[in-house]
Amino acid sequence: MATKDKNEPRSPRRFRRAQAAALLTASALLLTACGGNSGGGAEPAANSSEPVQGGTLVFAEVTPINNFQTQSARFYEKANVLNSVLDRLTYFDAESGKLVPWIASKFSGNEDNTEFTFDIRPDVTFSDGTPLDAEAVKANLDVLGKGLEKAQIQPNVDFSAYESTEVVDEDTVKVELKSADANFLRATSSVAAGLVSPKTLELDNAGQSDIAKISGSGPFVFESEKPDEEIVLAKRADYAWAPETAKNQGAAYLDKVVVKYLPEVAHRAGAVQSGQVDLVRGLQPADEAAVTTGGNQVLPARGIDLTANMAAVRIGSGKLADEKVRQALQVGIDRQALKDTVLSDSYEIAGSILNHRAPGFVDLSADLAYDPEKAKSLLDEAGWVAGSDGIREKDGKKLEVTVTSSNNSVVIKPAFELIEQQWREIGVKLVNRAADNTFLATALQDPKVEFFGTRQFAYGGLGPVFGPETNTQTLNADKDLNELFAAERAAADEAKHGELVAEEQRALVLDKALALVLWDEVQVYGAHSGTQVEFTSGTAPIFQGAWKTAG
């Protein structure tokens, strides 16, 4: 296997590295506790101070990435940079849970959600000088909805109902959809729907992926880069079109943001504590205490735009074809133990497949309570009986299931290690291949690999995530679910829509149990004591409103 050969040595190394990291952390903690090192220098965290103008914020991302084309794959590494460079038509305000005006000063839909009108804010320009007017918005929406053949850009999955845009006048556009989509407006708030200059859209694929060539209307503009090592963004002094609810309505306080990369998880806490970075993403739960004791901050950014972390179920191997088995596994997970052992206070146990703060969230936690006895009797009912080694069997097949996931989350592997223990008690063997990217390359498209550990962006309904036959979660199109998704998307009034979104959650989590939900998506950032920063509903840092106090 091409990917395999190359990376075979990486997985065991990663694992050993994780152990070494744990050892290092432990020794660091010990030394700190002995008072042998005072490196942290506990300054009091500045909380309610006035914003400070100027300065450079150094932000350490996880992996360098070089595909910055707006709508292709939604990696955090990419969104966290683009969020400061590109504006969107609308903004999802996490506090009120509502969509508010941004580049669209007004937006509305017709009664059956097939036609939407956006009033474009006047006087907004892209950083290359091109006006952000109705024509520019139309050009962007066309690419989102239809892709761009000449630059090999594929349509955005959240815009699958898109038909066309009509420029009504200089600052008004009217969007026609092929079919009703109650989630269309929300999707326009996504970083993946960021607006770029029409001149950017004329570039070829490589050009549109190159952060140096992308021109947006955001509060920061690209200044320089060292490929794979850093990106420097400089503030745009004339920025005056922040989202309606943003505390800072003008230009960014910071002069510059420098994005660097720390692929090595063991250094992230130390980077903040030694003051070499002001903000770092991807802190390990084990490092959180060290960061706060040093007087610095642990900032959990809630993934309101995302599903909970889950083990999505593929039924291809046949072992999980019976929903009773899936339901048994759902209640066979002790989520509180997961939080207590593997996670931290920054994490919240999932109450459904949607985030607790997401519009339409319905609390299913009572049905998700840990109940090994119920799990056992469900498995008995399904005909799986314990074999000599304690693992259940049916028709000569063992109930041995496999999980795959990327290594993007720092907690996913230990989480499945604990679940492996929990399931053993109900007679199920879990083969844990989580965080093994090499295995993932083959497993992602293999319906016989029973679980895919993941979380996905979901702007409203869950249709785009679980609907298509090609969806990566279940690799299967479920007829009943798809009827439900279609009804939800077509729902005309808000109350009805909410009801159907709730029904989707119940179907996916309880009745069909195709998503074993674990914890709400969260990205845990470490911040130096003097750093003031908030995050979007998609966990991206809002550098436009960030500042640094002296020190």
Partner: protein, 319 residues
């Protein structure tokens, strides 16, 4: 000599072609094609989109057509496009390979110096204790994983003492420390083989003759023993290229340096199969090229290779 050279070069080309073929077949063995794998990093993509992108990158063509098209491209230096960035794979790799070469070459030089130092001290010292300590260094170096040494040094130098940055900033330490970390690791096998073959050489009768003629210990070591022990060490040097490349990738990741390591990380994170394909091919080519150079240099150290009329391979003699 000419025949020997032509044979070696021919063999090298054959190995590269076989490597290309194996990589191509391995990609076909994946449960789906590169485009589908790449697009599955998003939650759900419609079949029409997948088909469209396959067409754009030529993955809808029959396998044989793909095989020869890619082989033809390879001959002209075109190894396809990175699906993630749309950039040609050759350009993407070419843009950063210099940084990795700088690291690898410096680390290799450090490794050779370290290995020679260990062998020289171990052979010439009169102190039994020092000899014992030095003899134990190579196994220690081999046992210390690259990433661990890198982590510990950064933890101490950067986080605890603040004398260097966690990020590459062009300072002396930011190059010297990764070079040292990688050099230490690579020096181990070279020193071990060199020590072993020096031992073998010292057991041969001509050393006694030299001693009887009154040659000094250092004269014997530098003028005779080292040269005769050099062959096997050079062979192992060719083989350490693999260690060197894998070590570079790890070192670059630990030290957040740009280079092949970052590209590997990206290619794997974004499931960019053509980019991985290019990287594997590059690794194979470098491996073959370095071993070709070793094979070509070998007759200079040991003329017996050519006299054996191509019967015994240098490897057979070396071991």
């Amino acid at each position: 000599m000419g025949r020997y050279v032509a044979q070696r070069i021919g063999q090298a080309l054959l190995v590269i072609w076989l490597a290309y073929t194996v990589i191509f077949l391995a990609v076909q063995l994946l449960p789906s094609d590169p485009v589908t794998i790449f697009l599955s990093t998003d939650s759900a993509v419609e079949q029409a989109t997948i088909d469209n992108m396959k067409r754009q990158y030529g993955y809808d063509q029959p396998l044989l057509v793909q095989y020869f098209a890619q082989l033809g491209g390879l001959l002209t230096g075109d190894v396809g496009y990175s699906l993630a960035s749309g950039e040609p794979v050759a350009l993407r790799i070419g843009g950063v390979v210099g940084s990795t070469i700088a690291l690898a070459v410096s680390a290799f030089a450090t490794a050779v110096v370290l290995a020679l130092a260990v062998v020289t001290v171990a052979t010439l010292t009169r102190s039994a204790l020092l000899r014992k300590i030095v003899l134990n260094l190579p196994p220690l170096f081999a046992a210390v994983p690259v990433f661990w040494l890198g982590l510990v040094l950064l933890e101490l130098l950067s986080i605890r003492w603040g004398v260097m940055s966690l990020f590459p900033d062009g300072s002396f330490l930011s190059l010297a420390v990764p070079v040292f970390v990688l050099g230490v690791h690579v020096s181990a096998p070279i020193a071990q083989v060199l020590l072993k073959s020096i031992d073998t050489v010292y057991n041969q009768p001509f050393i006694d003759v030299l001693r009887a003629k009154g040659a000094s210990a250092s004269w014997i070591f530098f003028r005779h023993a080292l040269k005769n022990a050099g062959g096997p060490a050079m062979t192992i040097t060719g083989i350490t290229v693999g260690t060197l490349l894998a070590g570079s990738v790890i070192t670059e990741t630990v030290f957040a340096r740009s280079g092949l390591g970052a590209v590997v990380l990206q290619a794997v994170t974004t499931q960019d199969v053509p980019l991985v394909q290019g990287l594997v091919l590059l690794t194979a080519t470098v491996f073959v090229a370095v071993n070709l150079v070793v094979d070509l240099l070998y007759p200079l150290l040991d003329p017996r290779i050519l006299k054996s009329n191509g019967q015994g391979s240098p490897r057979a003699l070396a071991v």
